[in-house]
């Protein structure tokens, strides 16, 4: 096999992007999986896509539009999920379909060629520039640093928001912080992975890690590792089979999830418990 391709600048950029994006997305994914809010993430990624298209149509920076609309959707859904007043699934469903509708509306209104729009839909990690990598790097460092700094508050909020509140942790602040980080991560990864596919890179690595451990710190680490692995293996497949990179990355992450689910010790809770019981005996 010919590996000389890795000597090229664009390939090195792609490898670095996959590393940074994989870490950021997979870390966010742990929140999404453990707080049981996958559809909030799906909704936000489509909002980001719609926002980017708005930017393309009206001629401002698509990333500003993406960040703005994904935060707007979080600002609408967050309080609903927080208070549990409306059924969150219903309100997220409404916002999700609205965002998809807006995206296609903006695409339709856009004059001229739609290639820029389609690129945001599918993503193109191989054309990532230095500024894309810097943005991804900033987001990845901020996400990891915040998880590290506020691990105990995040752990309590993820476990149970009412409990976190009852022991004196401002749980609502952390919930909104998590939604804000989700919006930022989706925005930064939008050009690499694409609006339609980004969410699987958030969900799949964390869902795979969730199958394998009962320790939250390990889950964060495993998830980040799976995220990076999905990106790198996906890139390899993309190169060797000349396939779109966003798609191969997402398919790889799904395969990792499947393997984790098959070998999950959590599916054999009974066996696991009997092992513990043996340990407990004097």
């Amino acid at each position: 096999m010919d590996f000389s391709i890795f000597g090229y600048q664009f390939m090195q950029n792609a490898i670095l992007s996959a590393f940074l994006g994989g870490i950021a997305c997979a870390t966010i994914g742990v929140f999404v999986v453990l707080m049981h809010m996958p559809f909030i993430g799906v909704c936000m990624s489509h909002a980001a896509f719609a926002g980017a298209l708005l930017g393309l149509w009206l001629g401002f920076n698509p990333l500003v539009g993406a960040f703005g609309l994904s935060l707007l959707s979080a600002a609408i859904i967050g309080p609903l999920a927080d208070r549990g007043e409306l059924s969150p699934e219903t309100s997220i469903g409404v916002i999700f379909s609205l965002m998809l509708g807006l995206a296609f509306l903006f695409m339709g209104l856009m004059p001229g060629t739609k290639s820029g729009a389609l690129e945001l839909l599918w993503g193109s990690i191989l054309t990532n520039t230095r500024s894309d990598i810097i943005l991804l790097g900033i987001v990845a460092v901020v996400v990891v640093a915040l998880v590290f700094l506020f691990f105990k508050e995040i752990q309590a909020t993820i476990f149970n928001r009412d409990t976190a509140l009852a022991v004196g942790i401002p749980a609502a602040l952390f919930l909104y912080g998590i939604l804000f980080l989700t919006g930022a991560t989706i925005t930064a990864s939008l050009r690499s992975i694409g609006g339609l596919l980004i969410f699987s890179l958030i969900l799949n690595p964390a869902a795979a890690a969730y199958q394998l451990t009962y320790n939250m710190k390990k889950m964060f680490l495993l998830s980040a590792a799976f995220g990076v692995l999905s990106g790198w293996v996906g890139l390899l497949f993309s190169y060797f089979f000349n396939a779109p990179s966003g798609a191969t990355i997402v398919v790889t992450s799904s395969v990792i999830f499947l393997i984790a689910a098959i070998f999950s010790p959590k599916r054999k809770v009974k066996g696991w418990q009997s092992q513990l019981l043996q340990e407990e005996q004097p």
């Binding site: 506020f150 022991v167 320790n215 809770v269």
Partner: protein, 268 residues
């Protein structure tokens, strides 16, 4: 109605609620409730579903939104958004919660969450925090399950963990919101005994919302009966928990109350 005299010193009244009105959406949950609780009291709160018992607890730990009235807890006046520092000093044990059986967090870590509020931002639990947690786990009889994932516990075990988590806050006030609901009879009386023992040894002030009438008289200094957002009666358990009162409280004929209570109280 038994009420604290005005002459009682202010320091002794840890909880003072005056004419509290709380509403959720269109429903009024508390309609002008006044209650004083002195240091060291064990108060049972009883009433039908929807009487405002849980809302009363949220007012005490600063989560309720007051429309009218005044609430002072541990010298702290309740206002919107200022409850975080108060809640660090108030232990709260909720009803049995549904927990994701695969949640990646173990019993010891869940109890440690009780320390997180007091520790504050940027500080990690140290050795003394782990000692406090392990002591609390021992007290509630859960040491042997410390490393077990929280989702694998039974309802009774979960409540013991919740009590341990409230204890590691080293609270001055302990609030329990139907901690024994949905538990079997033995677990119910075990939990009540445990709470009473902790109340006495740690000289806490305890508010206990419950439906478990058979065990209450033994534990409580005072009983508060609630109905439709009001305090309907207050006094010693023996005086107040009569078949006639319970019939009025739950809108049931006295004869039915008598029959059911006989059935409910297990033979010793």
């Amino acid at each position: 109605m038994v009420k604290a005299e005005d002459g009682v010193s202010m320091d002794n009244e840890l909880i003072v609620i005056e004419n509290a009105v709380v509403s959720y959406r269109e429903d009024i949950a508390l309609r002008g409730v006044s209650l004083k609780v002195s240091k060291g009291e064990f108060v049972g709160i009883i009433g039908p579903n929807g009487a405002g018992k849980t809302t009363l607890l949220t007012v005490v730990n600063g989560l309720g939104k007051l429309l009218e009235g005044e609430v002072r807890v541990l010298g702290h006046y309740l206002a919107a958004g200022n409850g975080h520092s108060l809640r660090k000093r108030v232990g709260y044990v909720p009803q049995v919660q549904n927990i994701d059986p695969r949640m990646p967090i173990c019993v010891r870590e869940v109890v440690m969450i009780g320390r997180y509020g007091i520790l504050g931002l940027f500080r990690r639990p140290g050795r003394s925090d782990y000692e406090i947690v392990d002591e609390a786990l021992g007290l509630v009889g859960m040491s042997h399950l410390a490393q077990r994932p929280i989702g694998h516990l039974s309802g009774g075990e979960l409540q013991r963990v919740s009590i341990a988590r409230a204890l590691v806050q080293q609270p001055e006030v302990l609030l329990l919101d139907e901690p024994t609901a949905s538990l079997d009879w033995k677990a119910q009386s075990d939990i009540l005994e445990l709470v009473k023992m902790i109340h006495d040894t740690r000289s806490l002030t305890t508010l206990f919302v419950t439906h478990d009438l058979s065990c209450l008289p033994v534990a409580c200094d005072r009983v508060v009966l609630m109905k439709e957002g009001n305090i309907w009666g207050e006094g010693s358990p023996d005086e107040l928990l009569t078949d006639i009162n319970l019939g009025l409280l739950y809108d049931m004929p006295v004869s039915v109350v008598e029959k059911r209570r006989k059935k409910a109280v297990p033979v010793n």
